[in-house]
């Protein structure tokens, strides 16, 4: 399972910049996110148990991170709408996924503005923490502030409940993919069954 997940993390994301680079970025994110768990486990358990549980956790983390990285919000919205979900619900899923790059872009702009006013992130832990706090506050505030504005703004783009959205370019659903989906679902059920028995 983990091997599969790791291989997937290295494949380029759908549609976005091709190549190994984004795969490595995702891998790095996975390792960084999973690292605290490993430390925690090592403190509590012996090596064998640590490895067993750690691998499972890393696989879970890898799946999520890969999903967010590889799945473009637009395709998700299109696919959901084509499958019959309401536009607002599809958009909710999509917006959650796209929140990360939007926030990332905004964080970058805020950091640049702060650096241009003398904020230095170098130096000891204290300086870094201060810089982090100086970033976190406006990021969260402006994101929250924007939620209000966004709700209003999206109304202006026709997201009205009750109207069936027209899919523009629904991702194709080939028989192979459908078969793969069922196979994966069955594999999960089988694994669950094996666990429980």
């Amino acid at each position: 399972m983990l091997a599969l997940a790791l291989v997937l993390t290295l494949t380029p994301g759908a549609g976005s910049s091709p190549g190994l680079r984004p795969g490595l970025v995702v891998l790095r994110t996975v390792l960084l996110t999973a690292a605290p768990f490993w430390v925690f486990l090592l403190v509590l358990h012996d090596v064998a148990t640590t490895v067993a549980i750690g691998l499972r956790i890393t696989t879970m983390v890898a799946s999520f991170v890969w999903l967010v990285a590889a799945l473009e919000p637009a395709r998700l919205v299109e696919a959901m709408v084509a499958a019959g979900w309401s536009a607002s619900l599809a958009y909710l899923f999509g917006a959650t996924l796209s929140a990360v790059p939007v926030l990332k872009a905004r964080a970058q702009r805020i950091v640049e503005a702060q650096r241009a006013r003398g904020l230095s992130a170098r130096g000891g832990i204290a300086a870094r923490l201060r810089a982090l706090r100086a970033l976190a506050l406006p990021l969260v505030l402006s994101a929250l502030h924007e939620v209000d504005e966004r709700a209003l703004a999206l109304e202006t783009r026709g997201l009205v409940p009750g109207i069936r959205r027209t899919p523009l370019a629904p991702p194709p659903d080939t028989p192979v993919e459908r078969a793969a989906r069922w196979a994966l679902l069955l594999a999960c059920l089988f694994a669950l069954f094996r666990r429980v028995m």
Binding site: G15, A87, Y91, G94, V102, T156, R157, R165, T166, L168
Partner: protein, 258 residues
């Protein structure tokens, strides 16, 4: 034929005592271009939100009086980047977002999107990722996106704010074209100098109430000049101490001067 009729509208934002709009009565006919002018906070943006049926429905707050719309409205906010869907691969998809949400058939969507892109001279940018656009380009994309929804009542809040002079000129020309096609246009702007060539009527808002309504010549009135709402040419004439009536534009001034 009226597109928008506001009668005695007063509006309070949630948890505010003083109204953002006081007893405003205004109508906009199809084919007409009405411009809202006033100092910041005078109520132009709020008026547009009421016209778009977003206030109080989405913003919350309280409204008294009546607001009647006879056409579907489309509004371009002064913060166009908030109106970006955030999930379009390309400018084309971004502009198509609205029409798709309205459930139109694919060929109709394509027709409206292509037309809107052409009107805003965005065809060269059609396959660009919206994230890479500059402020001015994004503003034009959002305007196209709203026009692609084919609103009968077009509401624009500072549509030229981020545009350079080529872009602004294209915009004003487009607005005149929209009116000729029979759309009703209500816009708020602080670029007063463009209005004599664009607006049929000018509405001067002060503290949420209508202080004056009239043809663009209003912007050459003594009162307007003194309030900082005169055109540049009229203001210069006023400051010079020369007698009124003040010329509205350079062309008027030249005629007067001869």
């Amino acid at each position: 034929m009226r597109s928008l009729t506001l009668e005695g509208v007063s509006f309070w934002y949630p948890a505010t005592d003083s109204p953002a709009l006081r007893n405003v009565s205004l109508h906009v006919a199809r084919g007409e271009i009405v411009a809202l002018v006033g100092a910041l906070g005078a109520g132009a943006s709020t008026l547009l939100l009421v016209a778009a049926d977003l206030a109080p429905r989405v913003t919350g707050g309280r409204l008294t009086g009546s607001a009647a719309r006879h056409d579907r409205s489309g509004i371009v906010l002064p913060t166009p980047w908030t109106q970006a869907s955030g999930m379009a691969f390309s400018v084309w998809d971004e502009v198509a977002f609205g029409p798709a949400n309205l459930g139109w058939p694919t060929h109709e969507i394509a027709r409206q999107v292509d037309r809107a892109l052409e009107q805003l001279e965005l065809a060269p940018l059609a396959s660009r990722d919206p994230v890479t656009l500059s402020g001015g380009e994004l503003q034009r994309v959002i305007i196209a996106a709203i026009l692609a929804m084919d609103p009968g009542l077009v509401l624009l809040d500072e549509p030229a704010a981020e545009l350079d002079s080529d872009g602004a000129r294209t915009l004003w020309r487009l607005i005149r074209l929209l009116a000729k096609e029979g759309k009703a246009v209500l816009l708020a702007t602080s670029t007063l100098d463009a209005l004599p060539e664009v607006a049929d009527r000018v509405v001067w808002l002060e503290d949420g109430a209508i202080r004056a309504v009239g043809p663009p010549d209003l912007l050459a009135d003594v009162a307007a000049c003194d309030a900082g709402l005169g055109t540049s040419v009229a203001t210069v004439w006023r400051t010079s101490g020369l007698p009124g009536p003040y010329p509205l534009t350079v062309a008027h001034a030249l005629r007067r001067w001869r």
